[in-house]
Structures are given as C-alpha cells and as structure tokens.
C-alpha cells in the first residue's frame, strides 16, 4: 500500500494541527450556496434550483386547496395561494442564486460575519437588522 514511503515528519504536525484548529473556528460559513467552490458544488447548486421553483408553487396550491376545503370557498384561496406560491418559488431561486440564506430569511450569507450572528442569537433578543439597507435595495 504505502510502499516504502516514509510517513510525513512529525515536526510539522504542530503547524498542521494549528491550521486544522484555525479551520475549525466558527467563521462566515454558508458558502455552499453562494460561491460554488468546485465543479461538484457548482453542479449540485444547479440541480437545486429547478425543483425549488416548482415545489413552492405546489405547496402554495396545496395549501390554498386545503384552506378552501376547510372554509368552503372553492377557487378563491387556491388562486391567491397560487400566486403566493409562485412568488415564494421565485424567492427561493433568487435567494439560492444570490446566496442570501437558503430558503426562508434574508440573512446575507457571505457578508454577515458568523461571530456577530452567534452573539446576536445568544445575547440580545432582537438586534436591529443589519441587512436593512441591503434588503431595501433588493425590493
């Protein structure tokens, strides 16, 4: 198997360990959606989008039909939720493509440093939304 190859010297084990620990630090993660690092990620990313669009539409129509069933207002909620579902589907795709979170929420995945994020959730109940100006520009 590892014929005659000497094991890597233990001297640089320290530096490698430090590098591994640095990698383990909580940092601005969530890059899976925004920047496809490798070909695998890029393709996996592409495969995700199409279904997202349709799934939200299907859920919207299904939800509308359920509400209609309960209230006896046959076509109306279905029509409304059809459009809501379509919007949600486009929103899903838009978020996936632009790398803002991966579904619900407006958290900018790349820009928001994870440390702040952790403090926000741990400490204050409701911090002022930082992404305010950005989400304003997105509308």
């Amino acid at each position: 198997m590892n014929e005659g190859r000497p094991p890597p010297p233990l001297e640089d084990l320290d530096s490698r360990l430090r590098a591994a620990k640095a990698r383990g630090k909580p940092r601005g993660g969530a890059k899976g959606g925004g920047q496809p690092g490798s070909a695998n990620q890029g393709l996996g990313f592409a495969l995700r989008i199409g279904v997202d669009l349709v799934a939200a539409l299907a859920v919207g129509v299904g939800l509308g039909l359920l509400i209609d069933e309960a209230l006896g207002t046959r076509p109306w909620f279905m029509v409304v939720f059809f459009f809501l579902g379509a919007v949600a589907g486009m929103l899903n795709v838009y978020r996936t493509v632009s790398g803002i979170g991966h579904g619900v929420g407006y958290k900018p995945a790349e820009r928001a440093p994870r440390e702040d994020e952790a403090e926000k959730t741990a400490g204050t109940e409701k911090a002022p939304p930082e992404g305010d100006d950005e989400s304003g520009g997105r509308k």
């Binding site: 590892n2 383990g24 799934a55 939720f81 991966h102 619900v104 929420g105 959730t121």
Partner: protein, 243 residues
C-alpha cells in the same frame, strides 16, 4: 423478467415476505431488501474499513476516512463548529442515500431512492427535526424567521404567507429533487437500452450513449446524496442562526 419490457417496470415494488400489521401492509419488499443491503454495506464499509485503525491508512481505511472527512468538512463549511453535534444524522443520511443510489446502478437491482415515499420520509424527518431544533434553540422567537427583518408592517400580511410557503416547500423540494433525478435517470437508461435492441447494428450508438449516461448517473448518484446532505446542513444552520 419475461413480461417486463416497460422502462418503468424496474420501479415495481414486489413483496418478498408478506407481513400484515393491524390491517397495514408492512410487507418486506424488494425496496426494503435494498435498504437493508445499503445499511449493511455502509456498516461493513465503515466498520471493516476502520478495523485496523492504522496511523497510516490503507486503501479501504482511506475511503472510510475520506467519506467521514467529506461530510465533516461539509458541516464545518456550512454550519460551523456548532454543527458538530449533528454530524451523525447528516453522515447517516448521506451514506444511506449514496449507497442506495449506487446500489441502484447495478443491473437487476432496485433503486429505493426512486420512490418518493422513501425520499419524502427522509425529508420530512429532516424538516420536523429542524423545526423542533429551531423551537428548542429559540423558543417562540423562532417565528421571527418568517418576518424579513426591516420589512414594513404593512407588508407583513403579504410577506408572511410567502415565507411560510417557502419554508413548507423545503421537504417537498428536498424529496422531489432526489426522487425525480433517480426516476428520470433510470428511466432514460432503460429507454435507451430498448433502442439498442430495436436498432440492431445501429444500436451501437445508443449503446455508446448508455455507457456515457451510466457515468453521468454515477455522478448524479453522488451529487444527489451530496445535495441532500448540504441542504440538511443549511436547514440546520438556518435553525441555529435565525436572522
């Protein structure tokens, strides 16, 4: 297999051992058999591979370590170190789906991931678990998830239903993606395999195509397991860090 010429015949569920529990058909089917095989293969692959626990890994141990590290890196990149506790579920899902997809690539076998109930079962488990996780971590504050920060209150009646639909569409898109890819890929393979026989000598062309397509299917088999795992990670990330 005499009557089986339809490209969809491969997806038929056959009962191997009939079991009926309280009026529910809980038979052990070919699908169940393949799942058991996938679990056994995964277990064998990992446990026998790691048997020696060598400092310098052999080929098999390398593969086992590689798969471990792949998922571990995936979690570290998407969730960060807070995602460590969820490694077992993500790794299990990834290996189960990956082996299920790969077993399906063998001739005469059965792809259990090509049935929506299987993929939906896994997706709904992930969905419910992530929702519960969100509630456990954030309590009722979890509902702020559905309100985009900075949105004017006048828009809430419009935005909240959209966000809820978007959230509810997760298990659907998660399950449909995997199921549809497996179903479409395997059907396509069978359809082209039918052309090989029908075209006689000219069947070399579809045959070459099938060879290429099989390679692509292998890639898809891996990618779909990867996508399922990474989306699970992202959902966990969302539940852990609300905006």
């Amino acid at each position: 297999m005499a009557e089986a010429h339809s490209p969809l015949e491969q997806f038929r569920i056959r009962s191997l051992v009939d079991i009926e529990l309280g009026g529910i058909d809980a038979s052990f089917t070919n699908s169940s058999l393949m799942m058991v095989i996938a679990v056994v293969l995964t277990g064998t692959f990992l446990m026998v591979g790691m048997r020696h626990r060598a400092l310098v890994p052999g080929r098999w141990q390398s593969m086992a370590e590689l798969s471990y590290e792949f998922v571990a890196n995936l979690i570290r990149e998407t969730v960060g170190t807070e995602g460590r506790p969820y490694f077992p579920i993500i790794f299990t899902l990834f290996m189960f789906i990956f082996f299920g997809n790969m077993i399906g690539m063998l001739p005469y076998s059965f792809t259990f991931t090509s049935h929506i109930i299987v993929t939906f079962g896994m997706a709904i488990v992930v969905f419910v678990a992530v929702t519960v996780l969100g509630f456990v971590k954030h309590g009722l504050h979890f509902f702020s998830f559905f309100v985009p920060p900075g949105a004017p209150i006048g828009l809430w009646p419009l935005l909240i239903p959209i966000e809820i639909i978007s959230y509810l569409s997760r298990p659907i898109s998660l399950s449909v993606r995997l199921f549809a890819n497996m179903l479409a890929g395997h059907t396509l393979l069978k359809v082209f395999a039918g052309f090989v026989v029908a075209l006689g000598v000219g069947g070399v062309l579809p045959l070459a195509f099938i060879v290429a397509l099989t390679g692509l299917e292998m890639l898809i088999a891996f990618l779909q397991a990867y996508v399922f795992a990474i989306l699970t990670c992202l959902y966990i990330n969302d539940a852990l860090h609300l905006h």
